[in-house]
């Protein structure tokens, strides 16, 4: 232990200054302080990364595993349910531009000075904190065949909007996407509003004095100014669409009808824990990890760029 336990002598104190003194003084304790967190990370992430790759090379159920090399991966891509799940995840990526554009538009409107904007922001953000289970249950009743949505649509003479939203293979993934947009919108609005508030007022005033139109100000000043935040948001939403939509799928449709709304997460759950095929589930998990690491790398890259700009 190099932690100095005695009070430092006055001669010592005369030796310069803050940072270098403390550098010499504390060397072991940071490791001790980080150790419990490090252990938690090693168990949940480190151990799992190694094991998930190992399991992906085996077939059979727990206790009777046989080595099969890359067979699980090749059977993934010949399994129509996996292909369907992958494509559904990709379709859900469409929610990303939708949420981003809507949230940005609302944030720009809020930022242009609307009376009571704080209250609106609080109300619009509320869905984001709610449990996806409760939301999913409510929407499963709202969107079902004879449900509230279709009833309201017909009452309003908008019967082209009335579909079996959760029961038809054609619409179901878009219904799930709609619920995701509904829940994520408030998050985007809050993030963008906060970023817009930080744009220097002088910039906007100068443009207004020059007679710039509202939309020109937004397009030429506001949006470019918060582009880093927009990039962060897009990446985070893409990660969400690819890898944290299980609850919506499970509650709204159970991946049905006939797996037409399955996603990779559901596939892993179904194969690994309903059917006990650990190997296939692990191979799908490794595939999902590979996909998300592309976005994680992007995220880190944007972070470094934005730190350098400051």
């Amino acid at each position: 232990m190099t932690i100095t336990r005695t009070r430092r002598s006055s001669a010592d104190r005369a030796v310069p200054q803050g940072r270098s003194a403390s550098r010499r003084r504390f060397t072991i304790w940071p490791y001790a302080y980080a150790a419990p967190a490090l252990v938690a990370l090693c168990v949940v992430f480190g151990y799992s990364f190694v094991e998930v790759v190992r399991y992906s090379l085996y077939s059979g159920s727990l206790g009777s595993l046989t080595y099969v090399g890359f067979n699980n991966y090749s059977s993934l891509f010949t399994d129509p349910v996996f292909i369907q799940s992958l494509f559904d995840n990709l379709k859900l990526l469409v929610t990303v531009p939708v949420v981003t554009v809507l949230a940005l538009a609302v944030a720009l409107v809020i930022n242009s000075g609307v009376r009571g904007w704080r209250l609106y922001r609080v109300l619009i953000f509320f869905p984001y904190v709610l449990p996806a289970v409760a939301i999913g249950l409510a929407f499963s009743y709202i969107l079902q065949g004879g449900g509230v949505f279709n009833t309201l649509a017909q009452d309003a003479h908008l019967s082209f909007l009335a579909h079996d939203w959760l029961g038809s293979p054609k619409w179901v993934i878009f219904s799930i996407g709609g619920v995701i947009v509904w829940q994520q919108l408030g998050f985007g609005v809050v993030v963008f509003t906060a970023a817009l508030l930080a744009v220097p007022a002088e910039l906007v005033e100068a443009a207004q004095i020059d007679g710039a139109h509202w939309w020109t100000v937004q397009r030429k000043i506001m949006i470019p100014h918060i582009r880093r935040i927009i990039q962060f948001f897009v990446i985070l939403e893409a990660i969400t669409a690819l890898s944290s939509v299980f609850t919506y799928v499970y509650i709204l449709t159970g991946a049905g009808p006939a797996y037409s709304s399955s996603v990779i997460e559901f596939y892993i759950y179904q194969y690994g824990f309903e059917d006990g095929a650990i190997g296939i589930a692990s191979a799908a998990a490794v595939f999902l990890l590979a996909m998300s690491s592309v976005f994680i790398a992007l995220y880190l890259w944007v972070r470094t760029r934005s730190a350098r700009e400051e």
């Binding site: 949940v44 799992s48 998930v52 399991y55 990660i239 997460e265 589930a281 692990s282």
Partner: protein, 272 residues
């Protein structure tokens, strides 16, 4: 012209606010209807207010057991994760270990790892430890999942604390533990509370892990319990909506009392 513009802006935001709140309204009004009342008029106000759905949940479902499990899982994993993350973030910001930048960057990368990818190895681990169907299984998992964001959050906060404050304490001969508990913690109250809220929401709302690790009826968390009873009672809309309402009630109360903590905490991943 400006009046027209500001009216249309107000209208847009009012419509959005209504759309945001409608499912909540649907949950509450449906929960107060009888099944017959709902069948007759799914969208309107309840004609005969009834609390029978709530009493049915408490008498026929193991609802209170699920609530207790959710509360225990949330409290333990959030307290442990928050505490070990404070220590690690303190070491990153005020320590001088070489690896601290690497450690921080690793944490930021781990923030975005999908939990589902860790599910099979964690499951087999818990089978070996004989923890399946027991709360510690999910608590260990949640705890690990919460650490990366928590460390990131506290590092951002600690970096705003003037270094002189810490240096002054060192000069007075204080040990790191004392600096953390007496200098840093007292000024970190609001931030810690913010993070605790964000973490608690994650654990309380989580479904997939709870579903896989807690398979017997009395060990389930609230979300897993409701999700599994959904199939059995799907045709009793008011009953299911009453359960959904109870599951979000704690969040609703907390949100009304302190939205600023939610807003600040849940958007904290977006900064530097």
């Amino acid at each position: 012209m400006t009046i027209l513009r500001s009216t249309s802006r107000q209208a847009l935001l009012i419509i959005l606010a209504i759309l945001s709140l409608y499912p909540m309204w649907f949950i509450v009004t449906t929960a107060l209807k009888t099944p017959a009342g709902y069948a007759l008029d799914p969208t309107g106000l309840p004609h005969h207010l009834t609390l029978s759905n709530f009493s049915a949940i408490f008498s026929q479902w193991p609802f209170l057991t699920w609530v207790r499990n959710s509360v225990v899982a949330t409290l333990v994993s959030v307290v442990v994760a928050t505490f070990i993350s404070i220590m690690a973030a303190f070491a990153i910001v005020f320590g001088t270990a070489r690896a601290r930048e690497t450690f921080l960057r690793t944490n930021i990368a781990l923030m975005a790892i999908p939990p589902v990818a860790l599910l099979t190895p964690m499951y087999t681990l818990m089978v070996e430890l004989h923890l399946i169907n027991q709360l510690p299984a999910v608590i260990i998992f949640y705890c690990g999942l919460l650490v990366p964001f928590s460390i990131f959050f506290f590092v951002n906060f600690f970096r705003q604390i003037p270094h002189e404050l810490v240096e002054a304490a060192y000069i007075d001969g204080a040990r790191p533990s004392r600096v953390m508990l007496r200098v840093i913690m007292p000024i970190s109250g609001a931030s810690t509370f913010t993070l605790v809220i964000v973490n608690a929401i994650f654990v309380w709302n989580e479904l997939l892990i709870a579903l896989v690790f807690l398979q017997n009826n009395n060990s389930r968390t609230l979300m897993a319990g409701i999700a599994l009873y959904q199939g059995r009672y799907i045709t009793n809309e008011p009953l299911i909506m009453a359960a959904a309402f109870l599951s979000l009630l704690p969040l609703l109360v907390l949100y009304v009392l302190g939205q600023r903590f939610f807003v600040r905490g849940m958007t904290a991943g977006m900064g530097r």
